[in-house]
Symmetry: C2
Subunit: 354 residues, 2 copies
């Protein structure tokens, strides 16, 4: 059973450091409201510095929405897809859905005490950091499988929503839903104001990514494509219909799986695609292979001060999460995809930045 | 390989009679325009007779869109799902995507001459009607697999579109896309005019159902959920990205697979669901299990003169296509689902009816 194969990208060192600094889940729920201001034509993308990245976005929108332009795209065909982790919100030190999964282990062990004596759960529960550091990728996959499947869809939604409202990121001590990039919220809004349907296309769990996507990004659940486990239709003891999350993959939505997921769930090629790692390369290739104007962009995390700096493109450290390789960087240059420098292109990173 | 297991419902007798009467594919393309007239509040559902079915629809819409109603549903949550074959368009004597598949066999044999000596293709190509009558369900599945997979998504779209424009229904000698039920087009329009997002949720092939869904029903491809084969991302000889349809099921979208497909592709429970057979029962159950106002409706084909009469609910003949059993009829009564009598509830069936 390999419900989330992309976890092979997870660094054990990063996992350990995360577990070491996780705060107690005691903070009260703080309502999140990160919607960008309504954008007028004179005031679009206010958190972007003038430069080639901002220019690429506004030129694309003008060309595809001007009826007189040879690159005009009819409103119904305007589709834009966005990777989530590292493209719309922070993915360090760990993908948020993996963080959720690890923090679910103690809860799971309460319901199934027998897990306390079974690896890798025993290790996660032990508090022994050295032992935790030795968890392998198959161990992590077992944890993902056990915490993300086996319950009804409704039970999962209740738990994941509660977690998102209470969990805090170890560095900022804020809900994960506040760690979204303000410039990207502005791009989402700007595209929607111009008739684009915006989609999340994530390698992370689809059901998890759907929680709060409407509130945080203005993207409804039906416009979230992600790695999805099968569900099984059945009935509870009162005869009420249930859908149970099964430990079986329906869609692995990363690398080549992203265009496959886009075809399955949307059925047409996007005109714009945004990513930040090798897992997004095929989505950008697929988008760029269409006719007319297409916009392909990659976020480069080169801002250690306001966020993180990792890559390893351009000599940035390789942290194994959200890998932006030098080869991907070279490919972007070759194909005229636009690289967004977080440091240079963004006036501010988060809504809470001054 | 069983890409389309629902084909076990296909009657060999029906298959034979279809093959016997198929017209030559020589008719010119006739543009299709079956959109319902824009509905005003005084003129909704003009092709419906007054009665409990029409009443159920208008009451549901009023209750869920009136802010003062305790059953008010916020616009973003207004989801309505429709089965296609037998609910939105004619499914007799054969599901349209199966018809497509059978008519593709000669084309396939041109590209792969070796098929001429391989069963069941030899039989389909022979013109021997008695031999054709003996085709088994596994035979039909082989034909579906061979004609619906193994090509790129783009190649499939080109072929399926061309077929839909030229193929004719044996009884009416009209394109299949004209054999849509005018009263149902009016329901789709009426729901959309009231903020509902309308979806097709079909047991038939998803890629096939997406062809022309926008033109025929006003439903864009991303709002079509159907039985889907996996696709495989790759590159053609020029290095251009391709998606190839694989002989492997990703989603079997019938019976319990309908709620599973709805969860995968939409991520929320519908408020209204329309079907016509046992394959739709679970979708209606799932819809009805939600809180507040829900609308569940089943089309009963009891109009041999204007369309067909089959069931076998209420003593209608069992033709194995689109089975509406007496047990489903009884369940509908028990659960207060509304049965639409084609004969009594519809003033006209098709746009071309007088």
């Amino acid at each position: 059973m390999q419900p989330y194969p992309q976890s092979s990208n997870i660094s054990r060192r990063a996992l350990l450091s995360t577990l070491a600094v996780l705060p107690a889940l005691s903070s009260p729920f703080i309502p999140v409201s990160l919607q960008a201001q309504s954008a007028t034509s004179s005031d679009v993308l206010p958190s972007w510095n003038d430069g080639s990245a901002r220019q690429a976005i506004t030129t694309f929108v003008k060309e595809t929405t001007d009826q007189a332009s040879p690159k005009f795209v009819p409103p119904g065909e305007r589709i834009a897809t966005f990777d989530q982790d590292g493209t719309l919100w922070v993915e360090h030190p760990m993908y948020t859905f993996v963080m959720y999964s690890l923090e679910r282990v103690p809860v799971l062990a309460k319901a199934k005490p027998e897990l306390k004596d079974v690896e890798p759960f025993e290790t996660v529960l032990s508090g022994n950091r050295e032992a935790r550091a030795k968890l392998t990728t198959p161990d992590l996959e077992k944890i993902l499988g056990a915490t993300l499947t086996g319950m009804t869809v409704h039970e999962f939604e209740v738990e994941a929503k509660k977690w998102l409202e209470t969990a805090r990121h170890p560095r900022w001590n804020r809900p994960y839903t506040e760690l979204v990039y303000q410039p990207m919220l502005e791009v989402l809004r700007y595209l929607r104001d111009n008739g684009y349907k915006t989609y999340i296309v994530t390698g992370g769990g689809q059901d998890f990514a759907r929680m709060g996507s409407d509130k945080v990004y203005g993207i409804p659940p039906e416009q979230v494509v992600g790695t999805a486990s099968a569900t099984k239709y059945g009935y509870d003891k009162d005869g009420k219909p249930t859908l149970t999350k099964e430990p079986k993959l329906t869609l692995f939505d990363d690398f080549g799986g992203k265009p496959e997921g886009i075809h399955l769930m949307i059925g047409r090629r996007p005109y714009a695609a945004f990513g930040n790692s090798t897992g997004d390369q095929q989505m950008l290739e697929y988008t760029g292979a269409g006719d007319g104007a297409r916009l392909m962009m990659l976020v480069l995390h080169d801002d250690a001060k306001r966020e993180y700096a990792y890559g390893p493109a351009q000599g940035l450290p390789d942290t194994k999460v959200g890998t932006f390789t030098q080869a991907l960087y070279d490919e972007a240059k070759k194909k005229s995809w636009t690289v967004i420098s977080m440091k240079d292109d963004w006036k501010r990173v988060f809504a809470f930045d001054q």
